[in-house]
């Protein structure tokens, strides 16, 4: 059984973070064995974490299980995944600084603020995309209405920092200005692809976040 990445750090954390202080009295060898057993349990109990597909769903709530050590190892892995995922959104240009602004506005009084704003975007945007598609198909062409719809979509996207969506909306608007219907059509196809990718990434991100949230509440309540 190979050692898990970050296991040495994890062992130090197990000593300091563990609620069950009896674990402190174990030898390094005993700790090492327990870590290996817990890793196996993790794989069995939380297999969905290791699945990269968008059909990710967690049917088990970790807080139902009284295995604090298991919870902490899982937490550390999840936290790393969340950090990595978020960084990739920025590096790949999906999100910009506005997303950080939203996170800064999240606090105890609004603990799910970012997810709520993203949910509003994901509620508005499919409707707008459908309306845009429908309006493109109409004759005579209504570029004024198209511009108005894409304006709303652009604003909505920029609220969450969805920079690629925002940029594609600007391209679409330019085509509207030029009364270039074919340009609008092509731009819409790109917007739909961008939207689908962004939606999948954001949904995966929040699913991961929700998995650490019960544990963070549990840790905080023990302080």
């Amino acid at each position: 059984m190979p050692d898990t990445p970050g296991a040495p750090l994890l062992r130090r954390r197990l000593v300091t973070d563990m609620v069950d202080w009896n674990m402190v009295l174990l030898t390094r060898r005993e700790l090492s064995i327990r870590i290996k057993i817990l890793h196996v349990i993790n794989n069995i109990l939380f297999p969905s974490i290791y699945m990269p597909s968008s059909s990710l769903h967690v049917s088990l709530q970790p807080s139902q299980f009284s295995l604090p050590a298991c919870t902490i190892m899982d937490y550390s892995t999840l936290r790393r995944q969340i950090t990595f995922m978020k960084k990739s959104f920025f590096d790949q240009g999906y999100l910009d600084e506005q997303f950080n602004q939203l996170e800064e506005l999240q606090d105890e009084s609004s603990p799910n603020f970012v997810e709520e704003v993203v949910a509003l975007f994901l509620k508005d945007s499919p409707r707008l995309l459908t309306n845009i598609e429908h309006t493109i198909g109409k004759y005579p062409q209504d570029f004024h209405r198209l511009d108005s719809l894409v304006h709303q979509l652009k604003g909505s996207g920029s609220s969450i920092g969805a920079v690629r969506m925002k940029n594609e909306c600007s391209v679409f608007k330019a085509h509207c200005n030029d009364k270039n219907l074919e340009g609008c059509r092509r731009s819409l196809q790109r917007m739909k692809r961008e939207h689908a990718t962004l939606k999948q990434k954001l949904e995966s991100y929040f699913q991961l976040l929700r998995q650490v949230a019960p544990r963070e509440h549990a840790v905080n309540s023990r302080k």
């Binding site: 506005q98 602004q101 800064e104 506005l105 704003v117 508005d124 909505s156 609220s159």
Partner: protein, 129 residues
């Protein structure tokens, strides 16, 4: 002596923008009232003028809204001889859009979305910080 809280009227029809702006304003310790279009904004300002409850310290308004847009609301508020600073917060941020708001009587303009930094500048500019 207790400084009373700054009162801001937020004029915005779309929920996502209201949610974000409301959070930014509250984080700055400001009291927020909201109007979903220009007509409602004009009505609220008129009520304050008539009721003697004290004017808003600041009005933040979007441009495109149903019933009455931000430009017309700005004109009507100015017609009431209300000197409250009006700042347009809009995604249409080309020079002609900005100029249209200034001509209508707005004091300043900032592109959406509203951020902590932008609000800080606005509050400082109008002596509300």
């Amino acid at each position: 002596m207790d400084r009373r809280r700054i009162r801001v009227l937020l004029v915005e029809d779309e929920e996502i923008h209201r949610v974000v702006a409301r959070a930014v304003l509250r984080a700055a310790g400001v009291e927020v009232e909201e109007a979903e279009n220009g007509a409602e904004a004009v009505r609220r300002v008129r009520e304050r003028v008539a009721g003697g409850g004290g004017a808003y310290d600041l009005i933040l308004t979007d441009k495109q809204m149903p019933v009455m847009d931000g430009l017309e609301a700005t004109r009507q508020i100015r017609a009431m001889v209300v000197a409250t600073p009006i700042v347009a917060v809009s995604s249409d941020s080309l020079p002609p859009d900005v100029q249209a708001f200034i001509t209508a009587g707005a004091n300043d303009f900032t592109p959406k979305p509203l951020t902590k930094e932008k609000l800080g500048h606005i509050l400082a500019k109008f002596g509300l910080a």
